[in-house]
């Protein structure tokens, strides 16, 4: 039995528009999504904004009721058995909200220990243990409003672990953290995985998914478009090389010209202040360079590099765009 399973899950958000004449609007966030996460596995969920990653996580955390299909965690139905399931799961959502800012870090943890029914004496030692683990012991009695973003995120993680859940849902936990903070958090995730916890992680950072996850599913427009190990997914673009060209003043016509060249699979443009970075996926490797440069039609070209395709390149091929 998988630890986490979605079977044909669909979720539709219903909103209204207009002031005088109100119109109902439906947005399909998940459409027949099926996937399974095995016990002890660190499973990544990737996808662009609006792909349905957070919706999937919220369904599994019992916060949303699926419009259709079935979701189970540890064999418990997320709708029917929600009350029993809540003792076994924990979640972290990216961002700074979701803490009591006027309370200290320690009081935040004590409060949630009470909500999860942890026996008072055990709660005290658990709080100290977690404060130590996330490196907040020295600042534990300060109000959370004075914490940095990284500290708040670590406190989120500590709160999630207060009842020692078997299953963790981490929704973009490193969002907005500085590189050092993000690295520390990734290290904590590795430690938790080493302790045997089952973790479902959503992230925008491909290198993070590549480094941490045993298996990955890519969601796009509410559907699973691929799943497998990072190696499997990279294999989808194994025949491709990526040529990176740093250019100045590229117009859409330049990009269209490159896309139309023989042997070019895709071109992605990343604006970097005054310059653009063109990532060209091609089966021709470095031999594509002369015709690519010719296609740029005299544009000023800076750095040029040819490399093997990565998970991000597989993602780009599957999703067709980058955020």
């Amino acid at each position: 039995m998988p630890a986490v399973a979605l079977a044909g899950v669909r979720f539709v958000y219903r909103t209204t528009t207009g002031v005088l004449r109100r119109h109902r609007k439906e947005v399909v966030a998940l459409d027949s999504v099926s996937l399974a996460v095995e016990e002890g596995e660190l499973f990544g969920l990737l996808g662009p904004n609006g792909a349905g990653k957070t919706t999937a996580v919220k369904i599994l955390c019992t916060l949303l009721i699926p419009t259709a299909g079935r979701a189970t965690v540890l064999g418990l139905d997320v709708v029917r058995d929600a009350a029993a399931l809540r003792h076994h799961i924990g979640f972290v959502f990216g961002g700074e909200r979701g803490l009591y800012y006027r309370l200290s870090g320690r009081d935040n943890l004590r409060y949630f220990a009470e909500l999860y029914g942890i026996e008072p004496r055990r709660a005290c030692s658990r709080v100290e243990e977690l404060l130590e683990m996330v490196g907040l012991r020295d600042r534990a009695d300060e109000r959370v409003m004075g914490y940095s973003r990284g500290m708040k995120q670590r406190l989120h993680l500590a709160r999630t672990l207060i009842h020692d859940p078997q299953i963790l849902f981490l929704d973009e936990p490193t969002l907005g953290l500085d590189p050092v903070g993000a690295r520390e958090l990734r290290e904590m995730i590795r430690v938790l995985r080493g302790e045997g916890k089952t973790i479902l992680l959503t992230t925008h950072y491909m290198f993070e998914a590549d480094a941490l996850c045993d298996r990955i599913a890519i969601l796009d427009q509410g559907r699973v478009v691929a799943q497998g190990t990072p190696g499997d997914l990279k294999g989808l673009v194994g025949d491709l090389s990526v040529v990176e060209l740093e250019v100045f003043g590229a117009e859409p016509s330049h990009v269209d010209r490159l896309r139309s060249l023989d042997g070019v699979d895709s071109v992605v443009v990343e604006q970097q202040e005054l310059r653009q970075l063109l990532r060209v996926q091609t089966r021709l490797g470095s031999s594509a360079l002369p015709r690519l440069l010719a296609g740029l039609d005299g544009l000023e070209v800076g750095r040029v590099a040819v490399r093997e395709a990565t998970l991000e390149d597989a993602y780009v091929r599957l999703v067709g765009r980058v955020e």
């Binding site: 919706t55 019992t62 006027r102 309370l103 009081d107 949630f112 009470e114 909500l115």
Partner: protein, 260 residues
């Protein structure tokens, strides 16, 4: 029971810690009852049957009702916008226990400064504030707090389920003061308006509090008031529990637990 009692008490504690330094609560707890009590004293002091304790108790009731009204209607919205609602819903304790604890925390926090403001008022203006039936008054205070707390618990899901109702509730602050006889007897109202307040728990709270402070109620009259307060509180709690379930089911279906 203990599964809910500790989280309830801790939620109250969290609310007290959060509210320390909250300007809105400060105004409701200190400034509003003082100002309203003062206005009532100046309005009523020339009447032959004037008793300062009536104005003092009435001012306290206005503060409590305002707190319950605005605290109650805003509780879930505030939790949603602070991002805490999802974490509370995902915890094993029912949301009504947590919200109930938080509203109780606000009520408890308001009582202390309110008492201070009474003492200050009495000292400043030299009016004796004597409670004629202290035991009856104490029980009435507890029942009044319970019934108003239950109303706050009812307002919390009501305000978020139907935003239009929230707007109407917001406008009910002063009408309730008047209809329930907080500051002056309802006998001063037109006859056809007087029974309206009797449908509301605050009316019976005011009736019992004013009656025990002035000693004007007989034992059966007081017992009836307490019974009605308890009955209205129980009915309010049943309705609140149903509305909490309705709110949660709807929010989990349309994805509105979190504010974007």
């Amino acid at each position: 029971m203990s599964r809910c009692l500790r989280p309830f008490l801790f939620s109250a504690r969290v609310q007290v810690l959060r509210a320390l330094g909250d300007e809105f609560l400060f105004v409701i707890a200190l400034v509003q009852p003082f100002a309203i009590g003062l206005a009532a004293i100046f309005m009523l002091r020339h009447r032959a049957d004037f008793e300062a304790v009536y104005a003092v108790v009435g001012a306290g009731l206005t503060a409590l009702f305002s707190l319950i009204l605005f605290g109650g209607t805003g509780t879930i919205t505030n939790l949603r916008f602070s991002g805490n609602l999802e974490h509370l819903v995902a915890a094993p304790v029912p949301l009504i226990v947590v919200v109930g604890g938080q509203i109780m925390g606000s009520v408890a926090l308001v009582l202390v400064p309110m008492l201070v403001s009474y003492g200050l008022g009495a000292w400043l203006f030299g009016y004796p504030i004597a409670i004629r039936d202290p035991a009856g008054f104490t029980v009435s205070v507890l029942l009044a707090l319970l019934s108003l707390w239950a109303m706050g618990l009812l307002f919390a899901p009501l305000a978020i389920l139907w935003p239009a109702v929230n707007s109407v509730l917001g406008a009910l602050e002063y009408p309730v003061y008047v209809l329930c006889g907080f500051l002056f007897p309802v006998l001063l109202l037109p006859g056809w308006l007087q029974p309206l307040g009797q449908l509301l728990a605050p009316y019976w709270a005011a009736y019992a509090l004013h009656g025990t402070s002035s000693g004007s109620l007989t034992a059966p009259e007081l017992a009836l008031a307490w019974l009605l307060l308890l009955a209205l509180t129980a009915a309010t709690l049943v309705l609140a529990a149903w509305l909490f379930d309705l709110f949660l089911a709807r929010a989990q279906r349309d994805g509105s637990l979190a504010a974007l």
